[in-house]
Symmetry: C2
Subunit: 465 residues, 2 copies
């Protein structure tokens, strides 16, 4: 059930809250399960099965069964949600501790009346550290001379969305619209934009701004610019808090927009700009594209399954390390891994010592590092792309094998475009579970429980129709 | 005073023990300070001042004052120790836990009588975990067809000598003759040796054997061969426990022998084959020889001062990080560093964040890693060459700067020869304090207290005359 239709919360959003303007807020009758009321006008009729948890499950199952390369994104199977006339409150002016920038008048958010009038974007937002998402309407800036505006068709669901909707880093600014794996279609370009035109298929990843003038920006390492602006919950140069891809459109400087080659499915393109680039960047940095060499991939989630795909495309011999036996068959038959090892199996781990050239560690849970590092050959490199707890390593594990433990986070704009092109040229597609927007709370819960193969992607296009 | 002369222990060896054959052992009168007795026959008369601690101190002071490039190695100032007719017991046949190889008859150590007869090498050994060294006579193998025998002229003093003489790793086999920075002159070569001839100046480093047939050996990474044999306290392929360079001669397979170019001082060559190669190898592996880039060197001891010298020779901008203000002047004026930072100075450390391309961390004491890693630019590499306690690092420190923490230990034979040649070509000389053998116990104690600039080198040639 979709609450915007019936004013009765579905289980998926039963803990949700609504940030409608107080003057518009009226409590709905939702029974004991409902925490907050909301106002949604005018409700749009829709098929009941499309928005119910059961429907979400059905979509997921179908997608999984049919394999991702045959996903049917037709709107008939997943009718859209309606958001019309609701104008939610913008974030407060003092946005992030230590970043007291006030908004520029040019942002069109001078007063509440103006805010209400300027709201032009539908989205879903978390309102507090419960992390529960619910509909939210807000304002995007108008297209500036170097901007590209895109109608978002799809948005991938990253663990970062859990981290910030639930305020795990104590820096979340609510209402918070997550999402940084954005794919869509260009609807408008600024006067100075020369790289894109209306109708282009494009993607926006984990950041939407940087200084464009520092050593890192000049090396196309914008992801390491000190003025890097995260696609959501970041403070942009005009002082506004950025809002992500769980929304109907986005406006970004063209530099942070990437072209999706013709024929590459938009729903598969979305995860490339976070999950994909996050593993591609360190793999290229550490020369993991050497056919015949060996690669270990720790963890088989959104990032891990992309590392396997890249590894195979590079001609590597790929071994997957997982805690879950249930992933063995898919790792081998679906993803093409050469070997699958349960990482708690000490005997197998022992037998693989000194055997790997590279390891990509995608695990974000706390885990030991010495057992994996010991698998590396002399001079081998293990790259950490997750954010587990403190790393503890015995010096001898590094020294005696001249091994390296490296880190990496997302990638620069040049590498991102290169990676998208590489995926298109080599027919590398993320495996996804396509969901509707109203399934997001369950999806995030499943993501926390590692119950996704291998990336949730929100069908924004049909959800916000 | 030297106990083999007078049967009265000098303060330097007053905690020492003697491993003479029990049948020969008779207790000497040494007063309360003497723990064990010994038998030394026939004692050789020598000048009292040569062996006394005071004499050792005088030699040290003189060398330090004169600077290492003007060291006078004349025997007049430091008369030799005599070891004639003393035949100490060889190490037990079961040598190292888990390595129960018995000696091969061909080693000439079949019986006790044979052992006594075959002892052909003078040295100093530790007899127990006190680590105190005292004179010891033992046997070296005769030269085989691929062997080189060298008269040792100098041996550097490495912290490894402290580690194993004091049984820090619980694997020391006593009597233990340390020393793996060996320089000397070839006295004999086997029939199949083609790389060396009698009279050549040569060096032997941290290992004296490996399988010569594995992936690592075939890549000249013999230091990572699983059958690598440490120059001392290692179990060689014939089952004997290796004995190091605190001795009058050594016999090694020619592969582990390195030519010292004409004119390069032997006493300066000795530290190259451990301290030198230990920092040179990772610097080359991680491409630190790029002029104009920046290098941090953590710790200014034997390894650290060589890292500074290599860094300057490579054209890097070198910053030394030390806990001791007392090293500032020398770091800048003697070693040529561009900058000197007290690592506990948080303000200075903060100002250097994201500024370095490379760091070589030579510190073996426990220390934090995040503050140093944070100094690296994007993609920067910090190489650990010491053996501190457990490494603890925040993942974000690695990830957000795409940084690497690497380890390294000594180097392969090809790199070692390359490094020696590089030093000769670029006039890179370790700074040393030349000592006599009888000063070794004080030297080790000073080494533990970091009171050496920057490497002790034992003048073996004149000590064992």
């Amino acid at each position: 059930m979709v609450r915007h239709v019936s004013c009765r919360p579905s289980p998926a959003v039963r803990r949700g809250s609504c940030e409608c303007e107080p003057r518009e807020l009226r409590r709905c009758v939702g029974g004991a399960a409902m925490v907050h009321g909301w106002s949604c006008k005018p409700p749009v009729k829709r098929r009941r099965d499309a928005a119910s948890p059961a429907a979400g499950a059905a979509i997921r199952t179908r997608v999984t069964r049919e394999n991702t390369r045959s996903i049917d994104n037709s709107s008939a199977a997943a009718p859209a949600l309606g958001f019309t006339g609701t104008e939610d409150r913008e974030a407060p002016r003092r946005l992030v501790p230590g970043s007291p920038k006030s908004r520029s008048p040019s942002s069109g958010l001078v007063g509440m009346a103006a805010e209400s009038e300027s709201c032009n974007c539908d989205g879903w937002a978390a309102r507090d550290p419960s992390g529960v998402l619910s509909p939210y309407r807000f304002s995007r800036r108008t297209v500036q001379h170097t901007d590209v505006s895109l109608r978002i068709t799809h948005c991938g669901v990253c663990y970062a969305d859990v981290v910030w909707t639930r305020n795990k880093h104590n820096d979340s600014v609510y209402p918070l619209v997550p999402g940084h794996e954005i794919a869509g279609v260009v609807t408008e370009v600024g006067s100075d934009v020369d790289g894109f035109k209306v109708g282009d298929h494009v993607a926006v990843g984990t950041y939407v701004n940087s200084c464009r003038d520092c050593e890192n920006c000049n090396s196309f390492l914008e992801n390491h610019c000190s003025k890097f602006v995260f696609t959501f919950n970041g403070v942009d140069s005009d002082g506004t808090v950025t809002k992500g891809g769980y929304s109907s459109h986005i406006v970004v400087h063209e530099r942070y927009c990437h072209k999706i080659p013709d024929g590459y499915p938009l729903e598969k393109a979305a995860p490339l700009v976070c999950a994909g680039i996050t593993v591609y960047t360190p793999m290229m940095r550490h020369n993991m594209n050497q056919p015949g060499k060996s690669l270990g991939v720790v963890g088989l989630g959104g990032l891990g399954h992309m590392a396997v795909k890249f590894g195979k495309a590079f001609g590597l011999k790929v071994t997957v390390f997982s805690t879950s036996e249930s992933k063995r068959d898919e790792a081998i038959s679906l993803l093409g891994a050469d070997n699958f090892v349960i990482s708690s199996d000490e005997k197998q781990m022992e037998s693989l010592k000194n055997s790997m050239h590279f390891i990509v560690d995608t695990a974000s849970g706390n885990h030991p590092f010495d057992p994996y590092l010991a698998l590396l050959k002399v001079g081998g490199v293990m790259v950490l792309v997750g954010f587990p707890g403190e790393i503890r390593v015995q010096p001898a594990t590094l020294n005696l094998g001249a091994r390296s433990l490296s880190g990496s986070v997302t990638g620069g704009t040049k590498d991102t475009q290169e990676m998208i092109n590489f995926c298109a040229a080599n027919k590398i597609y993320p495996d996804i579970e396509l969901i509707k927007m109203d399934y997001i709370n369950e999806a995030l819960e499943r993501l926390v429980n590692r119950d996704v193969r291998y990336r949730f992607v929100i069908d924004i296009e049909s959800s916000f129709r």
